[in-house]
């Protein structure tokens, strides 16, 4: 509000008026209950909240009209507003687009929308607003951009998923703490790259190494002893839930509840064709994911350890009988799985962008969806599942509100279990 009035050249010529305006606004801000609310004497109210990308927008003018009543107000610093109305009936709510930040417009439903009171004393009216350019982009360009984002997201989801699938294949454990392994990689990169100020090309490989170390120590310190104790699969699964809670809140303990950024997260965008633009980070991310996945595939198919891993997935007892050191292979599987999850975390931190203590919980269900879709316990199935889930999450926001994009993936997860429970690559006997 303040800067808006200063930015107006007419008022610059009249400093007294600026002073006067600033005083009124200043007084208004001191008592925010009055700055964003009018008509509080009435019993009923229309309320709402103006946010762009989750950030509240202050100073947006809202008007409510109905019958012969009309009132308007501006949003406060939390983006919320309240207009009292004399009776429960129909009102039209108008948002003044010229008071929104530059480039932000109402995306759906128009600037004036109707509200009707139900039984409550209040009715909420929020507008779906965002960057204005989105509507001007041709639909086909949007589709192409979303598909590329989807492949990018799918590849990093694949990095995280194959690890979960390998662990499941070799030990039978559905590891609910896998999401926290993803967060751990991102947080390790944050600590090394931002708090210790190491160059990012040192910090990221070091973060992946730390994740690998985490995988080693979790197997050595927790999972191996529990396997020796002979804990059942369901017991192990609940232990992994306890571990997930512990790790999640330890991470919150150290980095707090806010969102942190890695260095260089706002890399420049490169225009590919039409209006499709990708950031340098996106290109790096896809390159790294593809290289790591190819290397992983080579390891799993061609090396001795990889073959042993697949043998244990097929039949642990037979593998042990034919001279494979099962515990050693499982240890390696945990290390590989944790390292890849950590790398996925770093890449995802650039993709989102941002690092948050509960980001692992968000991605865990998508990982489960990818693994189930591909077939539990199959490494390449998990990869295909991850690509499908990634594409689905990103392209679904073309058709449904973007805050429901994860829902599409989870609905598909349930759908798969209805019609093909063994997944795309799975075999029927695995589902028991």
């Amino acid at each position: 509000m303040n800067f808006l009035s200063v930015g107006n050249p007419k008022r610059l010529l009249k400093p007294l008026i600026i002073l006067f305006t600033a005083l009124i606004i200043g007084l208004g801000l001191m008592t925010p209950a009055h700055a964003d609310s009018v008509g509080e004497e009435f019993d009923y109210a229309v309320v709402g909240n103006v946010k762009v990308e989750g950030e509240p927008v202050a100073g947006v003018r809202m008007t409510v009209e109905g019958g012969d009543y009309s009132a308007s107000t501006v949003t406060d610093e939390t983006g919320s507003w309240l207009i009292g109305v004399p009776e429960k009936s129909e009102y039209s709510v108008t948002i003044d687009e010229s008071t929104l930040p530059a480039g932000v417009i109402v995306l759906e439903g128009g600037v004036t929308q109707e509200v009707t009171f139900k039984l409550g004393d209040r009715v909420v009216q929020n507008f779906f607003i965002g960057e204005g350019e989105r509507n001007e982009v041709a639909f086909i360009d949007q589709v192409i951009a979303r598909v590329i984002y989807g492949i990018n997201f799918g590849l990093m989801l694949g990095l995280a998923s194959v690890g979960l699938s390998l662990v499941f294949g070799t030990t039978g454990l559905s590891n609910f703490a896998h999401g926290e392994m993803v967060t751990f990689g991102a947080v390790a990169a944050l600590i090394l790259g931002v708090f210790l100020e190491l160059p990012i090309w040192v910090a990221i490989p070091a973060a992946v190494l730390l994740s690998a170390g985490m995988g080693w120590s979790l197997d050595a310190g927790l999972w191996k002893p529990l396997r020796s104790r002979g804990l059942g699969i369901i017991q192990l699964m609940i232990v992994s839930i306890g571990l997930s809670l512990t790790m999640r809140y330890i991470i919150q303990f150290f980095i707090g509840g806010g969102t942190e950024q890695l260095p260089g997260f706002d890399s420049p965008k490169i225009n590919l064709f039409g209006s499709v633009a990708l950031s340098v980070n996106d290109l790096y991310s896809m390159g790294i994911s593809i290289i790591v996945i190819v290397a992983f595939a080579f390891w799993l198919m061609k090396t001795k350890t990889g073959k042993a891993t697949r043998a244990i997935s097929d039949n642990p007892d037979l593998a042990a009988a034919s001279g494979i050191d099962v515990d050693k292979v499982i240890r390696i599987v945990w290390i590989v799985s944790a390292a890849m999850a950590g790398l996925a975390g770093v890449l995802w931190a650039y993709f989102r962008p941002g690092i948050k203590w509960d980001m692992g919980t968000q991605i865990l269900l998508l990982i489960f969806a990818a693994v189930t879709l591909g077939g539990l316990g199959t490494a390449f199935g998990a990869l295909i599942g991850a690509l499908i889930v990634g594409l689905l999450v990103e392209t679904s926001s073309l058709f449904i509100p973007s805050d429901l994009k994860y829902v599409a993936a989870l609905v598909v997860l349930i759908g798969v279990l209805l019609f093909r429970p063994q997944g795309i690559m799975g075999r029927k006997q695995r589902i028991g």
């Binding site: 409550g120 059942g232 303990f253």
Partner: protein, 327 residues
């Protein structure tokens, strides 16, 4: 350190609408996991459906409170059928993944701005207790009741009385069901599904019935919680599911009173930790700031859950022979 306040707040945690609500949810999980062996990681979803079913039917459709609560229960029955039909024929961990995913779908649908008119999105819903007449149905005249830490105004007393009544009915129902022939079949399915199938029982139907009954308990928990606090999508996150699991395993999964007592211990302990940890940090005994001290109690929950499952999976009151998930 103000020990008086800490002890007072801790003892107050023994009997609150929140404790009753989570005891009901834990009872539902006992039906699912303890007796039928079903891995339900979506109990938060059942609570959310119950709470939103009640609030939405009052606010949007103008139902009276009792009809709204019935709608909430019908909602959790529908949710159980929706989850059970695709997954109950599959191995247990599929049900685990599907229930956790479905609970998250429900939460995201309540959170999205697309249905703000009905769900209130991130702000949640409020005012339905008054609009639906639940507040007016309060038989207690205004005033202060109880003594010491258990002093309530008439509105809280009404919710607690109502909640305790529902809890008592549910505990009785679970006890009666579990000593009936139906309960023996359910326990048999937990022990050896194939043996029960060989006896000619329809295992799928029995599992679905167990899922529905436990789901109704969970939904009632959500309704009791909504009768006291506002309905807000931030409550029904996966962490809440895991907290309910912790309280269930604490008391004993395959017992009748275990989940109730487990929930009481869990939420009393939470009240104690949330009072003492900030005190310890502000008096300099713990070298952490206030927010970190608050986070610490959830770290302790996680560690506690792990230790519990490893060293005493049958819980405080359970019998280890009843825990088939312990191999």
């Amino acid at each position: 350190m103000d020990w008086g306040t800490i002890i007072n707040n801790t003892l107050a945690g023994l009997l609150t609408p929140t404790t009753i609500a989570f005891a009901l949810a834990a009872l539902g999980l006992a039906m699912h996991f303890g007796f039928a062996g079903l891995l339900n990681f979506g109990i938060a979803g059942f609570m959310a459906i119950g709470a939103y079913g009640y609030a939405i039917s009052v606010l949007t459709f103008g139902f009276p409170w009792w009809l709204g609560m019935i709608v909430g229960i019908l909602g959790s029955i529908g949710f159980a059928i929706l989850l059970g039909v695709p997954t109950l024929r599959l191995r247990g961990d599929y049900l685990a993944i599907v229930t956790i995913a479905a609970a998250e779908i429900a939460r995201l649908l309540f959170l999205t701005t697309a249905f703000t008119d009905v769900t209130g999105s991130a702000d949640g819903l409020f005012g339905y207790n008054k609009a639906g007449g639940f507040t007016d149905a309060n038989p207690f005249p205004p005033g202060s009741y109880g003594f010491g830490p258990w002093t309530y105004n008439s509105e809280t007393l009404w919710v607690i009385t109502f909640g305790l009544g529902v809890l008592a009915i549910c505990v009785w129902l679970l006890w009666a069901l579990m000593r009936s022939p139906w309960g023996r079949v359910i326990k048999g399915i937990r022990e050896d599904e194939d043996a029960i199938r060989a006896l000619g029982k329809n295992v799928f139907a029995y599992k679905l019935q167990a899922l529905i009954i436990g789901g109704v308990f969970g939904g009632m928990g959500g309704i009791i919680y909504a009768a006291f606090a506002n309905v807000s999508p931030g409550v029904y996150v996966t962490s809440i599911t895991f907290f309910i699991w912790t309280s269930l395993l604490l008391g004993g999964a395959a017992t009748i009173f275990g989940p109730v007592i487990g929930a009481v211990i869990f939420w009393t302990l939470q009240a104690f930790l949330s009072n003492i940890l900030p005190e310890l940090s502000s008096s300099g005994i713990l070298p952490v700031d206030g927010t970190q001290a608050a986070t610490l109690r959830f770290v302790l929950v996680g560690i506690g859950l792990m230790l519990l499952v490893i060293y005493r999976p049958q819980g405080i009151f359970g019998d280890k022979r009843e825990m088939t998930f312990v191999k």
